[in-house]
């Protein structure tokens, strides 16, 4: 499963091409046709629809765009989403690194079960995620904790769906880390905290950063798990994705597109950032 979540470090630097003749393309007629067909399908499915969102958002120019985003209910939704995603990402950085550490460096009965548990939020339908969280933290909670329809519920849902990202990016790096370096540092008198801070953490930092970026992006875009759990109260627990749906259902496609364009631009920024991080990681490995 780690392959699904980890940033793809292999693709940006493919098989060494420069050894071959410096041609701009290696496409022949057959593969050229294939590429053409693939591009048409990809455009019809992804590129044209996403462009339509940006075009719709730009209808009416900056003033209309700004008016849509500064609507109090919309601004509150975007603000809540960003703050909640940031808080959850901070928790994930700490807990994700700790979980990866325990999974790699520790061994105990049931550790393998935890490996599957980590991936479960990725495979579980988000509406079911909301339902199960509501069962434990809702009105009929066996724990007696009821956070349904509060902002804590938003954070809880984000925590659930973003759980795998930092764990799965840090884990492979931690596995490849050579314990000799840490042992050498320890034998030279460094305490466990110093070893972690000076030796382990710098090697993990790029992986933690890319995991954090993915977790932030996932949090921003989350929708399904909140439908049942957060109540989506305007100005209180409504997040950006729910606000978009509200606009669509109210037949205000311009407003929906304006909020969607903000989420899209953040998603693009995260992809660019991840590309930079992953190149840093591959360079480190060289």
């Amino acid at each position: 499963m780690s392959g699904v979540l980890a940033p793809d470090r292999s693709r940006p630097e493919p098989a060494p091409a420069p050894r071959r003749r410096p041609r701009r393309t290696t496409l022949d007629r057959r593969s050229g046709t294939g590429l053409g067909l693939a591009l048409i399908w990809f455009s019809l499915l992804v590129l044209i629809p996403l462009t339509a969102v940006l075009v719709k958002a730009s209808e009416g120019g900056w003033t209309a765009y700004w008016a849509a985003l500064s609507d109090p209910q919309t601004a509150a939704a975007i603000g809540l989403t960003i703050v909640a995603a940031l808080v959850v990402t901070a928790i994930n950085v700490v807990m994700g690194t700790l979980i990866a550490w325990v999974l790699v460096r520790d061994d105990f009965p049931g550790r393998r079960v935890l490996e599957v548990v980590i991936d479960l939020p990725f495979a579980l339908p988000t509406i079911v995620a909301g339902l199960v969280l509501l069962s434990l933290y809702g009105p009929h909670s066996p724990l007696g904790i009821n956070v349904a329809n509060t902002r804590i519920a938003v954070g809880l849902a984000f925590l659930f769906v973003t759980l795998p990202f930092v764990v799965r990016t840090v884990q492979p790096v931690l596995l490849e880390l050579e314990p000799e370096v840490e042992e050498a540092a320890a034998s030279l008198g460094a305490g466990p905290v110093t070893v972690f801070r000076r030796i382990v953490l710098p090697s993990l930092a790029p992986a933690i950063a890319s995991g954090a970026a993915m977790s932030f992006a996932r949090g921003l875009s989350e929708f399904g798990s909140l439908v049942l759990l957060s109540g989506s109260l305007p100005l209180h627990t409504e997040v950006a994705a729910v606000r978009i749906l509200g606009y669509i259902e109210g037949d205000n496609l311009h407003g929906a597109a304006a909020v969607a364009s903000v989420l899209l631009l953040v998603a693009l920024a995260v992809i660019v950032l991840l590309d930079l991080f992953s190149r840093k990681v591959t360079h480190r490995a060289d």
Partner: protein, 287 residues
């Protein structure tokens, strides 16, 4: 049960960094955290489904709306996985084995669907294929082909969100195996199709299988994008996840149908995870 290769491969012997007390503390914190965040909540779905005994669950399984929703979901998932497998294998081959202008940009763009909010996916498709106001929708409608609020829209939305999954599994394997065997086959006179079926396909076989299993799990569970383009009409466009929502929000009724459908979806997700975890080491050893 074999699990992630990350865990099963040569692992360093557990070391006592930080001493026994800290180790136990770390372990306890992780187990309690995962227990409260994932294990306990997810197990409650089974508890709640069977709250009234086995009878109501069996009755819910015979609910025609539930049967229809799962059939629709399976058919939708089948088409989107089929489309994504063909497209995914093709685009992976092009991205890895060929050089062309814009290759890097395309390589980054195929990952985009994983980062786009499902609701934005739905909105994007609505703006282009919507029957009255979309860019292409009215023309398609005039040709008698309804996309939005109809099964084709469900397939498009599901395909969009699952798009990168096959590609992400296949490209690393293609890069790792290189082209030596393919070039040898070509020099021995094999045609492109023969090379693909005899050399390339067997090497990427397991990667394609993981990609398909993961896409299938994701496709069955898609909710946000489908919610926007479906309209959620029972017996027409209501998928399994939409049924869970509708039945849970129904007032006054017990939620047995919602929990039963959720339990089915959870079991499918778990089976997919375990299948991938069980298959992966066998491929790891081959390479």
């Amino acid at each position: 049960m074999p699990t992630d290769p990350v865990a099963t491969d040569a692992r360093p012997t557990p070391r006592r960094s930080g001493g026994g007390l800290f180790r136990n503390l770390r372990r306890a914190v992780v187990i309690v955290y995962l227990g409260l965040l994932v294990i306990w909540p997810v197990s409650l779905v089974a508890v709640n489904a069977f709250a009234g005994g086995v009878g109501p669950v069996l009755a819910a399984l015979q609910d025609p709306a539930l049967i229809f929703a799962f059939q629709l979901t399976l058919v939708t998932a089948f088409w989107s996985v089929a489309l994504n497998t063909v497209f995914g294998v093709g685009i992976s081959l092009l991205l890895v084995r060929h050089r062309f202008p814009g290759r890097r940009i395309l390589s980054a763009l195929v990952d985009l669907p994983l980062s786009v909010s499902p609701v934005v996916v739905g909105l994007a498709l609505l703006l282009v294929y919507g029957g009255t106001t979309g860019w292409f929708g009215p023309a398609l409608q005039a040709a008698g082909f309804q996309v939005i609020y109809a099964p084709p829209g469900l397939v498009l939305a599901t395909t969009f969100v699952c798009l990168p999954l096959v590609i992400r599994e296949v490209t690393p394997v293609l890069i790792e195996t290189g082209t030596d065997a393919e070039q040898a086959a070509a020099s021995l006179g094999a045609g492109p199709w023969q090379i693909f079926t005899r050399i390339t396909l067997p090497t990427i076989k397991w990667a394609v299988v993981y990609g398909v299993v993961l896409s299938f799990a994701r496709a069955l569970g898609e909710y946000g994008a489908v919610k926007v383009v479906s309209g959620g009409v029972a017996f027409r466009t209501q998928t399994a996840t939409l049924l869970v929502e509708e039945r849970y929000q129904q007032f006054g009724a017990t939620h047995t149908t919602a929990y039963t459908a959720a339990l089915l979806l959870t079991v499918i997700a778990l089976v997919a995870l375990i299948v991938v975890a069980a298959l992966r080491p066998s491929q790891e050893k081959r390479s």
